[in-house]
Amino acid sequence: MSMINYASREINCKLVYYGPGLGGKTTNLEHIYGKVSPNTRGKMISLATETERTLFFDFLPVDLGTIRGFKTRFHLYTVPGQVYYNASRKLILKGVDGIVFVADSQIERMEANVESMQNLYDNMAEYGYDLTKIPFVIQYNKRDLPNAAPIKDLQASLNPGWPIEEATRQKVAPDPAHPGENLVDKVGGEWVGRAAYHEAVAVRGDGVFDTLKAVSKLVLKTLS
């Protein structure tokens, strides 16, 4: 739920980083915190356990600059990835404008990824939000690890696509980040849409800003 304040000329949007435990959600925020000028970001707060596992959420406000005379403020949140924190995880989704799903590319974590993605769909549905209709980007993290699954397999499991029913959207939409691939395509006579995806190594910062940029653009596009 973006909030436009005409009095202070600010647009506030909420982005949530979702995904399985230890997948790199907090690392994404930490990298952004470290790289963005202190003038354009607030303090990062982490409600974490003693072992640095996210208990409730991490929060980082970032100003992306001024557009049309409005200051654009993005509030970045992570959720606790561990399965048993679902009650608090669900709370953070309230009023979300855009989602980044941080998947752990390691083959061993495939099941945890799928479970978390299903949990995201379920939690969104409980709020009446449709994940296929809001800004949604998938980040395949930890691409540097030797046991990282091929992108093709990750896409098949986590981003198989959804049917596009609106006639106006039934046209091929190329994926700007991956030449030769499409975000909307005709597969076996059916129109199918997919979430945009980015590869990342969040500990090094690779792909972190590409992901943030992609989801922010989608969010601001919903206001245009």
């Binding site: 909030m3 436009i4 049309r68 409005f70 608090s88 709370l91 309230k94 009446g128 939000y129 206001l223």
Partner: protein
């Protein structure tokens, strides 16, 4: 619903909110009043300028209120419409406004909890009216938002260099 609905408020709404909150602070002797939306975004601050980071404060307030909402449901209550956190010197009182916004009142020994609660009840009634009116305007609000950021993609690209 595809996603959460947006809302917007204009200068006039802001002035009304300020007027109500200033009167409330005068009557209750509280130091500062903040309005935070349920998603953790700061809407307004009136009274003494807080010494903390208001953005962080707002996100924690919303999380605190939401967590307590769930706790209320677990014990069979529809909601906790207000919450109190009492410290040795500084205290805070939080109350729901129009189910979308939280009024946060910061007060010290110069004010009493009883008076804050009493006066807050009245100002919450006034704020409810202001916000209900604002939300009823959603149609026109969205019309204003449409086109607000047309062509913003290029500008976003520039922002990220």
């Amino acid at each position: 619903m595809a996603g959460a609905a947006s809302w917007s408020f204009n200068e006039n709404d802001f002035k009304q909110i300020q007027t109500h909150l200033q009167a409330f602070l005068r009557d209750s002797n509280a130091r500062c009043a903040l309005l935070v939306d349920r998603n953790g975004q700061l809407v307004a601050t009136v009274g003494e300028t807080p010494q903390f980071d208001p953005t962080n404060f707002a996100s924690l307030t919303a999380a605190d209120f939401s967590a307590n909402d769930q706790l209320a449901k677990m014990i069979g209550e529809a909601e906790f419409a207000s919450l109190v956190h009492q410290g040795e010197r500084e205290s805070m009182y939080m109350a729901d406004v129009a189910k979308r916004v939280i009024l946060v009142v910061l007060f010290d020994q110069r004010a009493t909890l009883g008076l804050v609660k009493l006066k807050a009840k009245a100002v919450v009634g006034e704020l409810n009216k202001v916000f209900e009116e604002m939300f009823n305007r959603v149609g026109s609000g969205q019309a204003q938002q449409k086109g607000l950021l047309e062509g913003a993609e290029d500008e976003i690209d520039k922002l990220f260099g």
